[in-house]
């Protein structure tokens, strides 16, 4: 199986370490992985801001770049969700790419399996707060959302649980939004920052020594608030834990 790794625009520019870690994880698992050069951004930010059509040029680039791959593995739950939900808008190739698009953790959990992931032999001696992005949670189904009355599951914790020595911080609100929300962060700055501060308070009350997420965008927001407040709480993507780059 030939897969494409998609590091969305802000991951490419601001979090290259996350993408390198993810690439190393996939390579060590023996997966044939490519990083096509033509894709930059899925257009989600523009679309969520109400400019869906202006985002179509970006979306078209992504679809063209990824059309030949059996799987598109995205390093952001919200970008993956956007591709899955909206790529159809650029035509039949968009529909095909949407069907083949998945998020990094979902791909590892559902298609590679926990045994293989455990063979990576990651270690992490920290108490970790797991932050699953809202679209990864409710749109892609990476865990059972707290509103839904079905048996609980959490694919991200399952993946992280393969790391030796890891423990998890329990939260009073297991899956409250961190307040990033793309353009929401700049259109409603007061509420956005307040939500972030509240999230950090919950994580710290649960004894978290590190926040680990599916979504670098949430970490950009939470990290920015933490640094401004002088809180030294490391924030990592799941890939960095599995690659053994954060202990």
């Amino acid at each position: 199986m030939k897969i494409a790794l998609f590091a969305p625009c802000f991951v490419d520019q601001l979090y290259p370490g996350v993408a390198v870690a993810a690439l190393r994880v996939l390579e060590r698992l023996g997966i044939d992985v490519d990083v096509p050069g033509g894709a930059a951004c899925c257009g989600q930010a523009a679309a969520n801001a109400g400019f869906e059509r202006d985002g179509h040029r970006a979306l078209r680039c992504v679809v063209d770049a990824f059309e030949g791959y059996e799987r598109v593995v995205v390093l952001s739950g919200s970008c993956a969700a956007h591709l899955r939900t909206h790529a159809f808008a650029v035509g039949p190739s968009g529909v095909r790419v949407a069907e083949r698009t998945t998020e990094f953790c979902a791909f590892l959990h559902d298609e590679i399996g926990l045994d293989a992931v455990a063979s990576l032999g990651a270690t992490c001696s920290q108490r970790v707060a797991v932050h699953i992005g809202c679209h990864a949670l409710r749109n892609l189904g990476l865990a059972r959302p707290s509103e839904i009355q079905r048996p609980a599951f959490d694919k991200v914790r399952a993946l992280l649980g393969t790391a030796r020595g890891i423990s998890f911080a329990e939260l009073t609100r297991s899956d409250e939004c961190c307040g990033f929300g793309g353009t929401f962060a700049v259109l409603e700055p007061a509420i956005s920052a307040k939500m972030g501060r509240d999230r950090l308070r919950d994580y710290r009350a649960g004894g978290a020594e590190m926040i680990v997420s599916t979504d670098p965008s949430c970490l950009m927001h939470l990290g920015g608030i933490a640094r401004r407040a002088g809180i030294g709480l490391p924030m990592r993507h799941v890939a960095e834990i599995l690659a053994g780059e954060a202990r």
Partner: protein, 475 residues
């Protein structure tokens, strides 16, 4: 001196566009109070979770409720006519109101026709939507809201801040001060039991003196013509049992086909709303009692327009439980008045733009699109999807401010050209690394008011990839 009694939460006033972000910032400026409000609403959400978890078939009930509502909406005209025929046969008089104005006129005509001067109302968000109280008062009718929360905000001349808990924005001390001012209770009284007793005594006199009672309606059953009213205080029952005239106002989307369907909705409604298994009173009213008049006013007020909208008709499935409001992380921190709309929160933000897109253009943006609303909704309204869709309409109509449009459009242009994006990205990253933090903070504007910018890496992932991996060919 500002006392808690006169301290007002920000209310969005005037006829111009609602600035939710500004109202929210004002609400949040008192962070302790915002935290208190957030915790109060989260407590209700948590109670809902416990109540829902106790029903093994909860998700199946949601599916069923959604299907029943979609079916009903798909032939709403048939069911409304069925309802009218049965209600009329039972002895009710059914009125049709095209809009708020017609509704208010019909209610006034009924009251004037009976010489009624004193009206007791049980909670009806529809009459709030129609602005009934000020209309009747301007025609010399005394209107008393008898739901405790509604009475509190009525005495304070405030709109409700929530559709199920209208005074949820107020602390008990503020209620005590309001009652001291209007009901003559002792100064400083804040014990909820004593305050409730005072309200009860005050309202009892109004119930006994009323010439007419108006109630809202939770469900109207087409097969029988019955109306069902759910309350916790029994005020709808007392009002309608005592007064010689009962006016029931309902939006046309409240009709359901059969009594059997009630079994689905009643199991969902109170659990979703407050975490109760049922409301304390579930009153089924079929016909006027001997000597009483029962008037049922069916109100459109924009609902058929919403029904005709392909993207938004499903919002009419809403049963007004308020669960999406309680769970909304934005509502909990911005307060109900920040929406400037009778129905706040996610459901308000999909219903209200359909009535006046320019005025309520900001509301679809008052959300992170986290989707908790959609997941909690007992009738599965795809609220975050509809918020997304409204955003497209707001920008197409040109209601987003020019500066915001410029920022978003420029980034879309750049991001749509990978080579340009990478070139600019390199420049941007260098600037962020070289410039002093204070300068970049200014440059990053709103983002950096409350957050630091990320540490900037020396090169992008694509640059690293080109340097470290050779397999960059297309497959």
């Amino acid at each position: 001196m500002t006392t808690p009694a006169t301290r007002r939460l920000p209310v969005v006033e005037g006829a111009g566009p609602i600035d939710h972000a500004a109202a929210a910032a004002l609400f949040i400026a008192d962070e302790d109070r915002a935290d208190w409000h957030d915790r109060a609403l989260w407590y209700v959400r948590a109670k809902r979770d416990v109540a829902a978890a106790a029903v093994p078939e909860w998700e199946a009930l949601r599916d069923l409720a959604s299907a029943i509502k979609e079916h009903t909406l798909s032939r709403l005209d048939d069911y409304l006519i069925q309802f009218e025929a049965h209600a009329t046969a039972n002895g009710a008089r059914v009125h049709w109101a095209r809009d708020a104005e017609e509704h208010n006129q019909i209610v006034l005509d009924i009251l004037v026709g009976r010489g009624a001067r004193r009206l007791v109302k049980s909670k009806s968000m529809l009459t709030e939507e129609c602005g009934l109280n000020p209309y009747l008062e301007s025609h010399g009718i005394e209107v008393v809201d008898t739901d405790l929360g509604e009475r509190i905000v009525q005495l304070r001349h405030e709109p409700p801040s929530h559709i199920v808990m209208p005074a949820i924005h107020l602390k008990k001390e503020e209620v005590g001060d309001t009652f001291h001012e209007h009901l003559g209770t002792a100064a400083g009284l804040s014990d909820p039991v004593e305050l409730t007793a005072a309200a009860r005594a005050h309202l009892r006199d109004r119930f006994l003196a009323a010439d007419a009672a108006l109630s809202g309606v939770n469900f109207a059953v087409a097969e029988s013509g019955a109306i069902v009213v759910c309350t916790n205080e029994g005020n709808a029952d007392l009002g309608t049992a005592l007064a010689p005239v009962h006016v029931a106002s309902l939006g046309i989307e409240k009709v359901i086909p059969r009594h059997d369907d009630l079994a689905v909705f009643l199991r969902l409604l109170a659990r979703s709303a407050t975490g109760q298994t049922l409301t304390v009173y579930t009153s089924h009213m079929l016909a006027p009692r001997e000597g009483q008049e029962l008037h049922i006013v069916l109100v459109d007020n924009g609902r058929t327009v919403q029904l005709a909208r392909k993207e938004f008709w499903r919002s009419l499935k809403c049963i007004r439980c308020g669960a999406c409001i309680n769970t909304c992380p934005v509502y909990r921190r911005s307060g109900g008045h920040s929406y400037g709309s009778t129905v706040p929160g996610p459901i308000g933000s999909v219903l209200t733009p359909g009535i006046d897109l320019e005025r309520y253009a900001a509301l679809p943006f008052a959300s992170t699109l986290c989707g908790s609303c959609t997941a909690v909704c007992p009738v599965k309204v795809d609220l975050d999807g509809q918020l997304y869709a409204w955003r497209q309409h707001v920008t197409a109509a040109g209601y987003l401010s020019a500066s915001k449009v410029a920022v978003i459009k420029t980034s879309a242009q750049v991001l749509g050209r990978p080579w340009l994006f990478r070139a600019l990205g390199a420049v941007g990253r260098s600037a962020l690394r070289i410039l002093p933090a204070r300068l970049t903070r200014m440059g990053a504007g709103v983002w950096a008011r409350s957050r630091d910018l990320p540490h900037v890496p020396p090169r992008s992932f694509h640059a690293w990839y080109r340097a470290n991996r050779v397999r960059t060919r297309q497959p």
